[in-house]
């Protein structure tokens, strides 16, 4: 049985090899020239004012965290979707409860206006 997986092994070695070798090759082939001016962040051609670590609006952070939250929810659905038939009816109900719970959270966010992006 295990020897059936040899082609898969070779394939993954080739892929990994290609990725690592190109990265190393370009690292050595490409000339490098570092200077203080070059490593400053690009400000459309003028020298930057202030550093990039300044606080930014909370809207960005909220949107990012909410996306991560609902993405994790979708990840839980993958195993369910794969063996949808075998889990049958009770699996459907369990998943349904899980989705309802997360949906409640989503509705709270909508009403609270966390996703209101284009209003002041």
């Amino acid at each position: 049985m295990p020897q059936d997986y040899i082609p898969v092994l070779i394939q993954s070695l080739v892929v990994l090899g290609f990725v690592i070798s190109t990265m190393l090759l370009t690292h050595f082939l490409g000339p490098k020239r570092f200077s203080r001016e070059k490593l400053e962040n690009f400000e459309c051609g003028i020298e930057g004012m202030g550093n990039a670590r300044s606080p930014f609006s909370v809207k960005y952070f909220l949107i990012a965290i909410l996306y991560v939250l609902f993405d994790v929810e979708v990840i839980f659905m993958y195993p369910w979707a794969v063996n949808f038939k075998t889990l049958g009816k009770e699996g459907f109900i369990d998943m349904f409860l899980f989705i309802i719970l997360v949906l409640a959270g989503f509705i709270y966010i909508l009403l609270k206006g966390a996703l209101k992006w284009d209003k002041k």
Binding site: C44, I46, M49, P55, F56, S57, G113
Partner: protein, 411 residues
């Protein structure tokens, strides 16, 4: 918080930033795809919203007005077509008409109609670039690549008339340097047949497109009286609802024999500016068609300059074997023609607005002062007022719909 009297900290709207210390400055700088040229906007941003913006221009300031004081009159024409380089013949014709007004040269009807055909072609070319770039800035790149094909065809017509594509230096003071070739007339007629189909297609692509309408309707709106106070002219003013068009208000170059409508918008937002330019292209096509019919009716087909030969080079074979013709040719080329002292302000309806030339001459070889009234330079001041409070992506669209051309901005 209408309901509760005093608001605890946690009861505030979760989204609004509390102490406003999250302002960060964003530099939409000289080399930025959003600014179609080289000018800089340092914007104070609260998240996506613009709180303040401060402009810096002059990154390609070439001192046109200083150069104009050191050049004889007909050598200033190459300067003018580097003002608004998207529609160069318009500026050339404007400059020629200013000097004709100073010298009191009356151009025959045929020259006026030839000039009108060229000016309206240039207006179409400029609106083509502006409208397709509004599409590019809101994400619709196909319009740009398709419409540039027609702009290439207008370049071909320019090459037939004056030999160069973009910086045309077309015509002379008092008329043209040569008659239009038969090939030019065929290309113009072919253009009048083939371009409306493409323009209709482009209009169908964007005008009623859900995404485009949401992205442009009431984005950067501007009221009519603020527009007049800020010196708006041209399509941007007409989009605000004021029907001021120099071709109608003080007609020049016998524009009064043509009938065309002036499209006027209501709220002065990006969508109105787009539609006003779109409608003006249709009107320009109508004007060219009328000009062609009027030109066919004129019997003598070979007058292409005014009767006043002060700026017209004698034909070459006369210059080679006739003393006076040689002297006259030399006088014109060296700029020794006699120019009366006086001052004149002449303005034309360029693609961006009222392009004015204030020419002061003290009878010498070169103008003693020449001031260009550059529409871009004047209406770009209102950009902060149109943009503050909106979002950054709307600010980009407002800037591209105002069609600010760097060459004309800091001449």
């Amino acid at each position: 918080m209408a309901k509760g009297q005093h608001t605890e900290y946690w009861d505030k709207d979760v989204v609004s930033s509390v102490e406003h210390k999250e302002y960060n400055t964003l530099n939409v700088g000289p080399t930025h795809p959003a600014t179609h040229g080289v000018f800089q906007n340092v914007m104070l941003m609260d998240g996506e919203f613009i709180v303040e913006t401060e402009q810096t221009i002059g990154y390609i300031h070439r001192a046109f007005e200083k150069i104009a004081e050191h050049r004889p009159f007909y050598q200033i024409t190459p300067l003018t077509d580097r003002l608004n380089y998207c529609s160069a013949p318009l500026n050339n014709m404007g400059w020629h008409m200013t000097v004709e007004k100073l010298l009191g040269i009356e151009t025959p009807k045929r020259v006026d109609y030839l000039r009108i055909v060229v000016m309206e072609l240039a207006r179409i070319a400029d609106h083509l670039v502006c409208n397709s770039v509004i599409g590019v800035d809101s994400g619709a790149l196909t319009g740009f690549t398709y419409l540039f094909q027609d702009r290439e065809f207008i370049y071909e017509i320019y090459e037939e008339i004056c030999g160069s594509r973009l910086t045309t230096n077309m015509g002379r003071i008092g008329g043209f340097e040569r008659n239009f070739s038969a090939n030019a007339w065929e290309k113009i007629r072919y253009f009048l047949k083939s371009f409306p189909v493409k323009l209709k297609e482009f209009e169908k692509l964007l005008a009623r497109n859900r995404i485009f309408m949401d992205r442009t309707i009431n984005v950067g709106p501007f009221s009519a009286d603020r527009a007049l106070a800020y010196g708006f002219t041209g399509p941007n003013l007409r989009a605000c609802g004021v029907d001021y068009d120099v071709r109608v208000m003080n007609p020049y170059c016998s524009y009064e024999d043509f009938d065309f409508i002036i499209p006027v918008g209501q709220s002065g937002d990006t969508y109105d500016r787009f539609m006003v330019r779109q409608e003006e292209m249709w009107q320009s096509l109508r004007i060219i068609q009328q000009a062609l019919d009027k030109l066919d009716k004129i019997t003598d087909k070979d007058t292409y300059f005014a009767k006043d030969p002060r700026f017209v080079l004698p034909p070459k074979e006369k210059v080679y074997n006739n003393m006076e013709a040689l002297i006259w040719h030399f006088k014109i080329v060296m700029g020794e023609t006699d120019i009366p002292a006086g001052e004149v302000y002449h303005c034309i309806e360029a693609a961006n607005g009222e392009l004015g030339f204030y020419l002061v001459s003290d009878g010498g070889r070169t103008p003693s002062r020449l001031h260009f009234r550059r529409p871009c330079f004047i209406y770009y001041q209102a950009y902060p007022e149109m943009v503050i409070g909106n979002m950054l992506s709307d600010a980009v669209l407002t800037m591209s719909s105002m069609n600010v051309i760097a060459g004309e901005l800091d001449a």
